[in-house]
């Protein structure tokens, strides 16, 4: 009633229960913040958008995998992905991602587990604060190191739930905080490369930065370093793809050896944070939370919508704050960017598959490693570039020109790889650094 509404205007949130560093259960936090909690629970919703969101496909649960619903399989949808990832776990199972509520189950039951995964996987798929402390006797970093090197299934024993309040918030003050050592180390290395020494994200980041950093703890490209399987973000030279590739070249890392060609290749994963950084919104100070957790009116208060989802399912709150345009027009603009990105992605994928096919044939025909070296390097590069744009889940929206130019370069490298196979001593042209 209007009477009620006027009351709300006066009162701040009421503390029903005391929340401490020991309170892992979101339901407890929810007693103080029912609105955020209810929204948080809604991340189970599955709604499809043209390129994003997710749909719930029914599946018959099994002993091994009790899930009754999964998101669509991207590798069945586009088998070229299986060729690109031949010999790697992703060629077994790779699906459209869905809401936060599913993160722990989807990780536990993905067929990618068949090949055996490290505990390091857990960092981004579960509520970790209590786990880190337990395994590190109060020391988060030591807990982090402990979980990284465990076999996944052993680590799994310690995991209770998907990301929760405590992973993003400081109890009491409710301030945002960074809880992932991998991010602390990654951003610290990045800042150092920008001439900022001794950067402590929880001490030095602004609130607006935090509204993206909390997401950047997981929505980033990563690899597992050394035998400790330390979760690492390859940012010490910068966030741009050239810098990240340069980093991998320098440390001489490969994710796996391509089954059909023998090339030492890389897999890029969900670089939303990196790509967003290259886009106009980041440049304009628009944070992940501004679009994926927009403010919702709750009486006199504005609360952040904790139903983290595709903004296209929430255009009024997510976009119309800043863009005074009809919803259909906003969606049309996004889809134009996405269809152009997707079209280029398909073209680049074709070129890569051409290269892989030819490499395979040459290898079977007994070509020496030396003869394949240049083509391998081109496959490695093209593949990483394509994957970087492909794995970036906004289908180009976060940085339209950047996604497109990355795919354009990938085309060049894949085709040059084919040339290298036809011409001994061929020297490829690599684009100069962007800066």
């Amino acid at each position: 009633s209007i009477y009620g509404r006027k009351q709300e205007a006066l009162q701040p949130f009421t503390q029903v229960v005391a929340i401490t560093e020991e309170t892992g259960d979101p339901a407890e936090w929810g007693k103080n913040f029912p609105n955020q909690y209810d929204a948080y629970l809604r991340t189970v919703d599955q709604v499809r958008t043209r390129f994003g969101g997710s749909e719930a496909l029914p599946r018959t649960p099994t002993e091994a995998d009790p899930r009754t619903q999964v998101a669509r399989s991207k590798i069945e949808e586009d088998p070229r992905l299986k060729t690109m990832w031949a010999g790697y776990a992703f060629a077994r199972d790779f699906r459209e991602e869905r809401g936060h509520a599913y993160m722990l189950d989807d990780q536990t039951f993905t067929e990618r587990q068949a090949v055996g995964q490290p505990g390091a996987c857990a960092n981004c798929h579960a509520s970790m604060v209590l786990v880190y402390r337990k395994l590190g006797d109060g020391d988060m970093t030591r807990g982090f190191e402990a979980i990284n090197k465990m076999p996944y299934m052993e680590a799994r024993e310690h995991l209770e739930r998907s990301v929760a309040c405590i992973d993003c918030h400081e109890p009491g003050s409710m301030k945002l905080r960074i809880t992932r050592p991998a991010f602390m180390e990654g951003i610290r290395a990045l800042r150092a490369s920008q001439g900022i020494a001794d950067y402590d994200v929880n001490r030095d980041a602004t609130r607006q930065e935090m509204r993206s950093f909390v997401c950047g703890q997981c929505h980033v490209e990563y690899y597992f370093k050394g035998d400790e399987k330390r979760l690492t973000y390859p940012w010490s030279k910068g966030l741009e793809i050239e810098k990240i590739y340069e980093y991998y070249q320098e440390v001489g890392f490969k994710d796996w050896t391509h089954a059909e060609t023998g090339a030492p290749v890389l897999k890029a994963q969900h670089p939303e944070f990196e790509m967003w950084n290259m886009g106009i919104h980041a440049r304009s100070g628009v944070a992940c939370a501004d679009c994926h957790m927009p403010y919702r009116r709750l009486g006199a208060q504005k609360v952040s919508d904790h139903h983290v989802q595709s903004p296209l399912l929430n255009v009024n709150a997510a976009c119309q704050t800043c863009h005074n345009l009809p919803e259909e027009e906003i969606v049309a603009r996004v889809e134009r960017i996405q269809t152009h990105t997707y079209r280029m992605r398909n073209q680049a994928m074709d070129a890569l598959v051409d290269l892989i096919g030819e490499l395979k044939a040459r290898k079977e025909a007994g070509a020496t490693d030396a003869e394949l070296a240049t083509a391998w390097e081109m496959q490695r590069r093209a593949q990483f570039y394509i994957d970087f744009a492909e794995a970036e889940n906004s289908t180009g929206f976060h940085a339209p020109q950047e996604s497109t130019r990355i795919l354009g370069e990938a085309l060049d490298y894949a085709r040059q790889g084919q040339l290298a196979l036809r011409e001994p001593g061929f020297t490829p042209r690599i684009a100069p650094p962007t800066r």
Binding site: S1, R5, Q208, E209, G285, A300
Partner: protein, 170 residues
């Protein structure tokens, strides 16, 4: 109150009360606030807070109040619009049926467009074209003159709201 405003108030109130229960809504819901020129009246509804603070930061803060831009500058039109909006908005407020991001609808956008010209007519002949026949929306280029920093809305009453406006990098 100048007689004009008394007539207007009467017109509007008549309309409001004419609709039974609506009368309660209109008056208790402060729909009547629409009938004054005092911006403070608008913030009788917290819903208007963002626009109010946006206005305080705008270039027009000292030269135009809400009604200068959101009410027609002719007497009848002014009070008719005020009554209509007063009614629409207070009922919307009561029933809580309105979007998270308020959007000025074409009808009221037109009122505002006219308001710009009311004050700037002299200056903007060119904008309406050499013939003055095909006017161009002022808001294409000046949508922020009445409200600065509208987006995204601040975190009212929540932790952290005190420092750092959302688009602020420090």
């Amino acid at each position: 109150m100048p007689p004009a405003r008394i007539i207007g108030t009467f017109l509007a109130l008549a309309l409001g009360t004419a609709i039974g229960i609506g009368g309660f809504t209109f008056i208790y819901g402060r729909g009547a606030s629409y009938l004054t020129n005092d911006p403070a009246a608008c913030v009788n509804c917290h819903v208007m807070n963002p626009q109010y603070s946006g206005w305080l930061q705008s270039s027009h803060r000292s030269v135009a109040v809400c009604n200068d831009c959101h009410a027609p500058h002719d007497l009848i039109g002014k009070y008719w619009t005020k009554a209509r909006n007063g009614w629409n908005h207070s009922s919307a407020f009561t029933t809580n049926r309105f979007p998270d991001q308020l959007r000025i609808p074409p009808v009221n956008r037109a009122v505002t467009e006219a308001a710009c010209r009311y004050c700037h007519a002299e200056l903007v002949a060119a904008v309406d074209g050499p013939m003055g026949d095909e006017p161009r929306e002022c808001l294409t280029c000046h949508s922020d003159v009445g409200h600065r920093g509208l987006a995204p809305l601040f975190l009212a009453g929540a932790p952290g709201a005190s420092h750092n406006g959302a688009l602020d990098h420090e």
